[in-house]
């Protein structure tokens, strides 16, 4: 989770990822950010996020994103 937060912080230092639940809906993350996050996750956790998982529900908060990573790790 810390590593994930680090990735996110690097992209948008000014966002409070602990509380924000609408990263996509409020257009904080754009498609470029999403791709960067996925590439980083791939490097850090060795987990491939398939395109089918790129839906707002998975990217709206750091928590949701972490849940996604865990689920994919588990799969």
């Amino acid at each position: 989770m810390e590593k994930l937060l680090e990735i996110l912080q690097e992209l948008h230092p000014d966002v409070d990822y602990d509380s924000c639940e609408s990263l996509i809906n409020d257009k904080i993350l754009d498609s470029f950010d999403i791709i960067t996050i996925i590439t980083q996750i791939n490097t850090e956790f060795d987990v491939a996020v398939p395109a089918s998982e790129i839906i707002p529900e998975n990217f709206n908060s750091a928590k949701a994103l972490w849940a996604l990573v865990e689920r994919l790790l588990d799969d």
Binding site: I38, N42, A51, S52, I54
Partner: protein
């Protein structure tokens, strides 16, 4: 049949009447029949192309759905399997499903490629190698790019297990052929459209009225603004070299208004007609001309196309294994900055290339796509600079600065857009150059603009219509304009609608234009 024809209006009247008279469980079947009739009007042979798309997407989705169902059953029955075994089994199933998906994609995109791009490719081969291959041109079935992409999105979603397949072939056929969307989209998603498409709908006066108002509004934009400006754009771009400098600015402005009126107006008619049938179709525009930069513009203009390319090309491409590997490799060899950007950049360029090609088989579309891409990537690169700029200068956070950005985006986008209308790419660049070399501002005031095919009175109508559009757009920022209208007392509300109707009937550029000279009995 065109939206702007008596045939279409008569067709609509018949569909509405039957739709609310027949038993509700038959409503969707009526829509299917109506859609096929609508499409047959465009050309009966086109139905064959559509049938191929319908059958192949239905079949592929059906087959994949069976693979997924079996997988679920198998995994449920064999809970004791080890993680590795499960994984191996799943991979094998996925391979099966992928085969169906691939077959369907290849078949459909193959057809599209052959009929839409053969001529273009052969022409270029002839040009480059000096060969004399006879150029084959196929009649392009109406709306094929729209309905095909919509259907392929459905197949990919089923492959991705976003939702189960629709097993009923007739329902699949309706999804592909739903007539209000056929001509110019939106490119709907199955999960959204199917919620209301197959439902049973009682006549709902309010929804019907709202839909009707929206249709009327669409006709207003199309007939009063877009079609009235059409002759000017034709004149300005036909003999382009006669109209340099300030005229090019005219082209940018008028073509921008024309395409806005025509495209968003057409979509208003589509969504309005669907609403009159009780069906919800996705919005395709979100006041695009209020965008502050090009990337935002593309999130607000032709939204369903943008999201289609994003979901089905951009994301899969940029998170594909190859791209991830490339990213890792470049990170090690070329440094983290480039490594981070490479996949995004490659995917962006490819997506815009695809978007350009999707719009049509011509170089100007490809250049158009790439120009959009270049501007977006540059502004992406400049983003940190902007951020500092905003921190540094207070005025950049004012309303006036927003307005400036909107203005800038409109003209920048307009400059890219006129690639559509000038004869070819070099002409476009040459003409854009004349804005700076020979502006001839004087032409604005010496009546030259009155000689472009429409009169001063026409310009007044366009100006008035544009102002109405502008204020309606502003009001939209506060909510649904029709809701606001519905809350008004009956008399002003009906007067508004009547004025809109009368404006379309009187000021619409349709039919045979009146010219008193035609009536003068001068032959003998």
């Amino acid at each position: 049949m065109s939206f702007v024809s008596f045939t279409f209006l008569a067709f609509l009247a018949a569909v509405f009447l039957l739709y609310y008279l027949i038993p509700k469980r038959f409503q969707w079947m009526l829509l299917l029949a109506a859609s096929l009739v609508f499409y047959a009007f465009a050309g009966p042979t086109y139905l064959i192309y559509m049938a191929v798309t319908i059958l192949s997407t239905w079949g592929a989705a059906y087959a994949m759905d069976r693979v997924w169902t079996r997988q679920d059953e198998y995994l449920k029955d064999n809970k004791e399997l080890s993680r590795e075994d499960k994984k191996a089994y799943k991979a094998a199933q996925k391979k099966k499903a992928r085969l169906f998906l691939a077959l369907c994609l290849i078949l459909n995109l193959g057809i599209l490629a052959v009929i839409k791009y053969t001529g273009f490719v052969l022409q270029n081969i002839n040009n480059i190698f000096g060969t004399q291959i006879r150029i084959l041109r196929f009649a392009l079935p109406l709306g094929i790019s729209f309905y095909m992409f919509q259907s392929l999105g459905y197949v990919i979603d089923v492959y991705r297990r976003k939702y189960p397949a629709e097993k009923n072939l007739a329902k699949c056929a309706l999804f592909t052929s739903f007539f209000p969307q056929l001509i110019q989209g939106p490119i709907s998603r199955f999960d959204y459209l199917s919620r209301t498409l197959y439902g049973q709908h009682d006549f709902d006066g309010r929804q019907f009225a709202f839909g009707f108002w929206r249709v009327l509004w669409g006709f207003f934009k199309k007939l009063v603004i877009a079609d009235r400006l059409a002759p000017v754009v034709v004149t300005l771009t036909g003999k382009a070299e006669n109209y340099p400098g300030v005229f090019v600015l005219g082209t940018i402005l008028f073509y921008g208004l024309q395409i806005y009126g025509d495209f968003t107006g057409g979509i208003d008619i589509t969504i309005g007609v669907a609403q009159m049938l009780g069906i919800k179709v996705t919005e395709n525009f979100d006041r695009p001309f209020f965008s502050k930069n090009i990337a935002e513009y593309w999130r607000r203009w032709h939204i369903t196309m943008g999201t289609w390319f994003k979901d089905y090309i951009f994301y899969p491409l940029s998170v594909s294994q190859g791209m991830i590997k490339l990213s890792k490799w470049s990170r090690e060899k070329l440094g983290p900055q480039i490594g981070k950007r490479l996949p995004v950049y490659i995917s962006t360029i490819l997506v815009w290339l695809a978007t350009g090609i999707w719009h049509g088989a011509a170089w100007h579309f490809i250049v158009w796509g790439l120009l959009n891409c270049v501007v977006i990537l540059i502004s992406q690169e400049l983003a940190p600079l902007y951020r500092r700029f905003h921190e540094r200068f207070a005025f950049s956070n004012t309303r006036a600065w927003d307005v400036f950005q909107v203005f800038r985006t409109f003209w920048l986008m307009g400059m890219i857009r006129v690639l559509d209308v000038y004869k070819d790419v070099p002409t476009t660049f040459k003409m854009l150059g004349t804005i700076f070399t020979t502006p001839n501002w004087g032409k604005l005031f010496d009546g030259s603009f009155l000689k472009l095919g429409i009169s001063g009175a026409d310009y007044l109508v366009v100006l008035f219509g544009t102002l109405v559009m502008f204020f309606v757009s502003l009001a939209k920022g506060k909510g649904d304009v029709r809701e606001m209208l519905a809350e008004k007392p009956a008399v002003p509300r009906y007067i508004c609608i009547w004025l809109l109707l009368a404006a379309v009937l009187v000021f619409g550029a349709y039919g045979i234009g009146y010219d008193a000279a035609q009536f003068i009995y001068n032959q003998f």
